[in-house]
């Protein structure tokens, strides 16, 4: 998933960083412009197109009746999948999700699941037999960096717009999917001692360590994941967590809460 960046560009970014700067003029903690377009796919029960700078991610939510898992007979089911289609980056290849796609999907899933944003108990139709299955399908369209945060944002935005299609299946009136919390994933890379949030594709390719922190509306944490082959100090982690909480709060209020 790494993209080759020329040595010259690497030096350039490094020198900028020493001066406390980033190529696009952002602060180290700042995000690129965010836009969220909702309900772009009418065939889906919910959908959102998220733009994070030039990064574009489309998330579709489909909701269908199906069988519950044997160990949770009275709860709805969430199935999250991410397709890193080769349209989105020269480094993506056709085929079933590789470890990057799987990690991304599982992290998006963890954000939704562990934040308890979906009340799975309320998605039971007939206990032990039929429940609502919520499919969250993340479709990366243009990977210009930090698809993790864009995907997570797209997932919760799509869920917020989703309707349970009860009528279509003869199960009463349609109703909005009940969403209880708004988890926000914020990712930082660590590069030469500094941490930069919302890395673009060049910054990602230079840094060898990344930390994603998923926060809930009450400021608590519902997910963390380090990735990459580098190390993090305890201080770096604490610092990233603190800023992640702030960034999460801002994004949540600005884009998702009405």
């Amino acid at each position: 998933m790494s993209t080759v960046v020329s040595e010259i560009r690497k030096d350039y970014l490094y020198n900028l960083m020493l001066k406390g700067q980033r190529a696009d003029g952002r602060t180290f903690n700042g995000y690129r412009p965010i836009s969220i377009e909702k309900n772009v796919v009418q065939k889906a029960e919910g959908s959102a197109l998220v733009k994070l700078g030039k990064t574009q991610v489309l998330v579709g939510v489909k909701i269908q009746p199906g069988e519950p898992f044997a160990d949770t007979p009275n709860r709805g089911v969430i199935i999250t999948n991410a397709e890193l289609v080769p349209l989105a980056s020269p480094s993506f290849e056709p085929g079933p999700p590789n470890e990057f796609g799987i990690e991304l999907a599982r992290l998006v899933d963890r954000g939704v699941r562990e934040s308890k944003s979906l009340d799975l108990d309320s998605l039971c139709i007939v206990p032990g037999e039929k429940v609502w299955i919520v499919f969250i399908d993340v479709h990366i369209l243009d990977d210009c960096g930090n698809i993790m945060d864009a995907s997570s944002l797209g997932a919760i935005a799509a869920l917020l717009t989703a309707t349970v299609p009860a009528k279509k299946f003869g199960l009463g009136e349609d109703y909005p999917l009940p969403v209880n919390d708004i988890p926000i994933a914020t990712t930082a890379v660590v590069f030469g001692g500094v941490t930069m949030f919302d890395p673009d594709v060049d910054e990602e390719s230079i840094a060898d360590t990344k930390l994603t922190v998923i926060t809930r509306a009450d400021g608590s944490i519902c997910g963390m994941q380090k990735s990459g082959t580098g190390v993090l100090t305890q201080d770096e982690i604490y610092r990233i967590v603190d800023i992640a909480c702030e960034n999460g709060k801002e994004i949540r209020e600005k884009f998702l809460e009405s």
Partner: protein, 247 residues
């Protein structure tokens, strides 16, 4: 394919179109930053996006051709693009559509310019409503031009169908599901056919009428493709001029 619904009343179809009228089309070029060329296209309720990468190195190597570039085409439907969620990954239908779409575009791509290379065309169907293969080919053709791939001409694609015993242009989902026949084509502006498929039931005469109607549809689409590319080039030229003016 049943005939119980009335699809055409007083020459007007369920969605208000005349029999020889295509659905509204929207084309945007250069919509993706990572791809070498790209195009977003809507044809009625179809929403597709095409990206072109290349010419670039071939992997795996044994697919290389010594005297020309190979062309690959991947037609893929997003899981949420259809009524009932589909499993991700290619099925038999998408393998066939990828093949015929590749063969629809190959005749105009000057592959001999780029020996040992590959030109990759990726089409993602974001929303499907009958006609995704033609929409995909139209978008891919524009994306190829956007990527600067040398081509003899653009390719335009449109279907004709048979509904209520009448030949109609550009059938939508209901007409496709319950209609009598469907015939997608693709062609060069010069009228050379590069894609032709048909299923359903048509007399030979009807097949002639369908082909002529579909060719008319292609010509209209060609004009739109051409316009959007000209606009794109003039924008780029203006941008360059402004840069030069600044200097």
């Amino acid at each position: 394919m049943e005939d119980k619904i009335t699809f055409i009343k007083d020459g007007i179809r369920l969605d208000g179109r005349r029999v020889d009228e295509a659905r509204p089309i929207k084309v945007e070029v250069g919509v993706l930053a990572r791809a070498d060329g790209s195009c977003y296209l809507e044809m009625g309720n179809n929403k597709v996006i095409a990206a072109v990468y290349g010419p670039r190195e071939v992997h795996p190597r044994h697919l290389q051709e010594v005297s020309r570039a190979i062309v690959r085409y991947r037609y893929n439907m997003a899981s949420f693009s259809v009524e009932e969620r589909r499993r991700p990954g290619p099925d038999r239908r998408s393998y066939e559509l990828s093949k015929v779409s590749r063969e629809a575009l190959s005749p105009v791509i000057l592959t001999s310019y780029f020996p040992r290379s590959v030109i990759d065309i990726f089409v993602e169907v974001l929303q499907a409503d009958a006609g995704t293969r033609t929409a995909g080919i139209n978008a891919a053709s524009v994306a190829l031009a956007d990527a600067g791939i040398p081509m003899k001409s653009l390719i335009s694609s449109c279907a004709a169908g048979k509904v209520d015993d009448q030949i109609v242009l550009d059938p939508m989902k209901e007409e496709d599901n319950f209609g009598q026949a469907d015939m997608p084509i693709a062609m060069t502006p010069g009228g050379e056919i590069t894609l032709l498929q048909m299923d359903g039931h048509m007399t030979v005469e009807e097949s002639h009428r369908a082909m002529e109607l579909a060719m008319k549809g292609c010509r209209d689409i060609y004009n739109m493709q051409r316009k959007v590319l000209i606009d794109r080039y003039s924008q780029m030229e203006n941008a360059t001029r402004q840069e030069e003016a600044v200097i």
